[in-house]
Symmetry: C2
Subunit: 442 residues, 2 copies
């Protein structure tokens, strides 16, 4: 319990009594937790004290540093040109990575994206990509650099040797009710980004009932803290605050999400998912090159429309062992669920709510997500929404198509979906997707 002049119980007591922990103490706690010198109970008590009394921004910075240096870091210096990493704080139908990465690669940037698995109601990029037959996400650092150098983009699993401190503490936060803290979220996100080695970081901070941050104020504060930490560490960093009250993309699931992205990239950019993906790409490219995001929009729109972006996606899929024909005939290549069911509206009117969290949990309940870290996901199941907030619909119009493993599961999901999607008599304006930006101050 005693080492390096510290006792865990004293540091916990300081935080419990409203005090602040310095960088050395936080690093001692993180390293001690990995070395089992600080117990699970002690770390959990510290986290709860911090959640209730608040961690300061200085503590968030120190914690980021402690987590970042808890394991290996990825060296990307041998890659040519700017290396961009794009990160979302997690949401439902949130598939921008699958579009932004090849789009930026088409523009000459390198995108190295280390991703996590889905947990709870949020989907995971790795789970989605693994629905492509043959696709490998567990790449060694050498493989990762090789794919990036070759195709301009790579999306892979974060190595267990990268930020093990975050991995351990995140798993503990998840089961101890200590997820929702700005400083803890910022340090978790930024430690991974800084250890990941990219010089340019584009953050998508989600806000709404399907996100960690439910108010725009909290989301903006989180975005600001993350950008500050990134800039202080010498990276180019920017953040968009975006809405997560309804799912971003209309396809919620794994294979369905991949199909949705391929189909979006096969047409001119349109719809909330495509527009946000384009926006994020504009910000990433402008940040990497210097200049205003709008200056890159025409170039990126052209790369999208002429198929260069989709071509890069096919190249990445092939380089990571997957079947690239998924980019031509996604519905044929990807697994399909045995049962599909169209769910129709019981009343006409205007769609007032498509609650992201509820929809995410519904998809997870069908088998698309996991409750525990070691659950298996079903690639084929999920749902395809046909409506979004502000749409005027007739009675009997399709709300969604459910893709399920069994008839019973499809019936339950259809009932739940009708309960979730609120349709009312009054006009509701389509809400904005981008709620704010926090640009790199340089």
């Amino acid at each position: 319990m005693t080492s390096g002049g510290y006792r865990a119980v004293d540091l916990i007591g300081r935080k419990r009594d409203g005090g602040e922990l310095d960088a050395e103490a936080l690093r001692w706690l993180v390293d001690g937790y990995l070395a089992r010198r600080v117990t699970e109970g002690q770390m959990a008590a510290l986290l709860m004290a911090g959640v209730l009394n608040g961690f300061t921004d200085a503590e968030a910075r120190a914690l980021t540093d402690a987590l970042r240096h808890s394991g290996e870091t990825l060296d990307l210096s041998e890659l040519d040109g700017p290396v961009i990493d794009k990160h979302s704080t997690g949401g439902v139908g949130d598939d921008t990575t699958l579009i932004v990465s090849p789009l930026l690669a088409a523009a000459g940037a390198q995108v190295v994206k280390l991703s996590g698995r889905g947990l709870g109601h949020t989907g995971g990029t790795l789970d989605k990509l693994e629905s492509i037959p043959g696709f490998r996400v567990d790449l060694s650092p050498d493989e990762l650099r090789a794919v990036a150098a070759d195709t301009g983009c790579v999306v892979a699993a974060q190595s267990e040797r990268l930020v093990p401190g975050d991995r351990a503490i995140y798993a503990l936060r998840d089961v101890t009710g200590t997820v929702g803290s700005r400083a803890l979220i910022a340090s978790s996100v930024m430690s991974k980004k800084l250890a990941g080695g990219a010089d340019t970081i584009v953050l998508d901070v989600k806000c709404g009932d399907g996100a960690f941050m439910t108010t725009p104020e909290d989301a903006r504060a989180l975005a600001e803290l993350c950008v500050e930490i990134g800039v202080e560490a010498g990276r180019r960093c920017t953040a968009l605050v975006t809405a997560m009250d309804q799912p971003l993309g209309r396809s919620v699931g794994n294979a369905l999400a991949v199909a949705g992205c391929v189909e979006a990239m096969s047409a001119p950019p349109s719809g909330r998912l495509a527009e946000l993906a384009l926006d994020l790409a504009c910000h990433g490219l402008a940040l990497a090159r210097g200049g205003h995001p709008d200056a890159t929009r025409e170039e990126l729109t052209r790369l999208w429309r002429d198929g260069a972006a989709l071509e890069r996606l096919a190249a990445m899929v092939a380089a990571q062992g997957g079947d690239p024909s998924v980019c031509d005939r996604p519905r044929e290549v990807l697994a399909a669920a045995p049962v599909t069911r169209e769910v129709s509206a019981r009343d006409g009117g205007v769609v007032a709510a498509v609650p992201a969290r509820g929809i995410g949990e519904l998809a997870a309940g069908l088998g698309a997500g996991r409750t525990h870290e070691d659950d298996e996901v079903d690639p084929a199941v999920g749902l395809e929404l046909r409506v979004e907030i502000g749409d005027r619909i007739e009675r009997g119009a399709p709300l969604a198509v459910v893709h399920a493993r069994t008839d019973a599961a499809a019936d339950r999901a259809a009932d739940e979906l009708r309960r979730l999607v609120r349709v009312g008599p009054d006009d509701v304006p389509a809400p904005p997707t981008v709620l704010g930006r926090r640009a790199d101050p340089r």
Copy 2:
């Protein structure tokens, strides 16, 4: 993580967000912690949320019940007459158990006292008794009842099968900075008392820098909650709130504490330790028999003065395997430290402070106490104070005698003691020992 309709993370979240947990949920958590269905991190997060947001009195009652029923309970119904248990919340030089138990036995009551080990700066009754050669504290329920029936009093270790929930949670609280909560202290104390089976409970709630409760208000509130819980469970219960700013007895250590008690019982009651012991015994006997505490004072004083109480102590020592001649020649029978050193005052004046916590830590540092649960204690070391708050002393007068294992340890202790004991020019009144009473309302 899921069982009985509950998820630990949801219950933690409720407490984190300021809500209240009902009896069923608290029992599920306690049982689940023992069954490892609730993890150490989850219990620690819950405890910290409760420490910071407060547990209600209803939660304290429910928690007491859950802990009490987490293991076996002791059946004392076959014992004749009232069975009294006396409990102190823990302090320094706090040896009243060694006096109160035989004194009440001499008056015809049965005293069954289940005790714990010392931890941190507070001494443990078991450690003190074990300094008597041969004394056994690990008695089976049958042995315990036999000693009580035979001699009228028994002081033994709490069985591991009694309130295992409290045992497990107390160990966790100790290392996670979650000790200091009224509800947690009350439920820990009262679950043990209720499982211990006595029908009459006398509590000594300590207050001051050497106690969990540092203000009289907090100590009174703790006393009130404990008595309420005891009375609701159908026991006779009373509490004194007593000062713990300076050590209660002047002998701090294990063998030294026993010698101090024997010497106190060999003379008419005088001094703070003897007076509080007499006071506690008066309250216990009055509560057991009915009537006012003052009505029992004359009888108990007589039993003290004529040696009947000391005789009972000798009988109990013998019945528990110890050498009863400790009650005649304590300094010969008990282990002595190789080094003794008198510490004299550098300045004359009035003693303003003899800080209990500091003195307790000093004695623990000499080897009399333990930092970890499995540390061994040294029976012989400790210190004998020669002064208390309010004493007027000359320069060079003895402050204390240090009993140490080595010269170096004695030197360090002497320096520390001179630093701790504050002597000033101004008169300081001798502070009261009893600060308040919380009687059984019946």
